[in-house]
Subunit: 241 residues, 2 copies
């Protein structure tokens, strides 16, 4: 069933309004009709709705049933991703959303080749948020994962340390993911390097702040493969895949 | 250190010959010199070599030390992948090699939109084998994973059933990967669907042949994401990531 996300203000009792541009998409591209059913998501709640009116400005729906989205993992995983070259962050965001991350925080680390400043990154962030929205619709998420503004390394470490399980994936080794003791219901932060990986001083700063260094096996993964492997493993170890 | 793969016939005692086109690459692109050290791999054995002579036809090396590649996983994972649309198989092969698969078998299943015949697929297979070779060099593999000729569904099921642990990932559910009881040292086959997933009859044929149906969680993954998630989880559960 088609899935749309709306802000809280568009839900009022048993009435849900879907504004443009989704309204146009529903009426014109999907050619939906009065009486058709759609799923509307808002902050982790899914509303099964029937369409009452359709215009280019808005689609009005009545709520048939609602409940907490069952598609959300029971862990809140934040991916701290050192900014890679080119458009690899697009792929990483898309896949991180499919794999159930709730937030992606792009970070500038010592070995990042691409080093945008925070302001110029905002335009890229708009695109990344659109990618996250589309991936959330396609993969059936209950929320739209958030792309945070670009972080400095120190900002990322401070945010990482707030998670129940802060993890840094280090190409020079560490314990196995299975040994971290990840628990369902927890918040998990996972920090992944860019093309050159991390400097040892960066790993030390993270572990000093409470993070656990985890090894990713002996094969060298591309920087866009490592986050997907880490998220897959985290979701499996916590019973979410 | 640069890594090259040679066939067995190029290794003779403590002498290793690297033929063209790698010889040209070593001499011209990498601008390596006599006395420089390189890693040569052959069938899972790594040879640490010193360069003795360089020409466009061949590079002659002496073996300084050799041993079984430590980068190979201790499980032999074969990915049976229903052929997806476009060039997604390129990405899947590259990532499967990084994640440690030993073989990728492209398969035509009921819901494949792209349906090449075996003969026309051979040209594509050449490219996929080149992608596997490059990924093996970059990720530090000890072998070059093999891309098999295109298989029919029945051929794939028969090959899948030969593995110690035959698994089919089914979007409509199954047991958790952790419940399969995967063991290190085993052969594992994992069958992944194309864009539309599997038909229930296909899953039944696989399970009748001894395969276990495994669910991949409640979020819908793109067909290029599912194999990477499955391989990551398999490598983690067997202690290889």
């Amino acid at each position: 069933m088609p899935r749309f996300f709306v802000q809280n203000k568009y839900i009022s009792g048993t009435n849900v309004t879907i504004p443009a541009p989704d309204a146009v998409h529903i009426g014109r591209s999907l050619r939906m009709r009065l009486g058709d059913e759609i799923t509307v998501c808002c902050e982790g709640i899914e509303y099964n709705c029937r369409i009452l009116t359709i215009s280019d400005e808005s689609v009005e729906c009545e709520v048939l049933s609602s409940g907490k989205s069952l598609n959300e993992a029971d862990v809140k995983v934040t991916l701290f991703q050192a900014v890679p070259k080119g458009d690899k962050l697009d792929t990483i965001v898309q896949k991180a959303v499919e794999l159930g991350a709730v937030r992606v925080c792009p970070v500038i680390t010592a070995r990042c080749v691409s080093r945008p400043d925070k302001k110029s990154f905002e335009k890229k962030r708009e695109r990344l948020n659109r990618i996250a929205l589309e991936a959330a619709k396609q993969s059936g998420r209950g929320i739209i994962p958030e792309i945070s503004p670009l972080m400095t390394f120190d900002e990322a470490v401070s945010e990482l340390a707030k998670q129940d399980f802060p993890v840094i994936c280090y190409e020079c080794g560490g314990i196995n993911f299975s040994e971290v003791g990840l628990k369902s219901g927890s918040s998990i932060g996972v920090f992944i390097g860019s093309e050159g990986g991390f400097e040892s001083g960066e790993v030390e700063k993270c572990t000093a702040a409470g993070a656990v260094a985890v090894g990713m096996g002996r094969r060298i993964m591309r920087c866009e493969t490592a986050p997907l492997a880490a998220l897959s493993i985290i979701m499996n170890l916590t019973g979410n895949i």
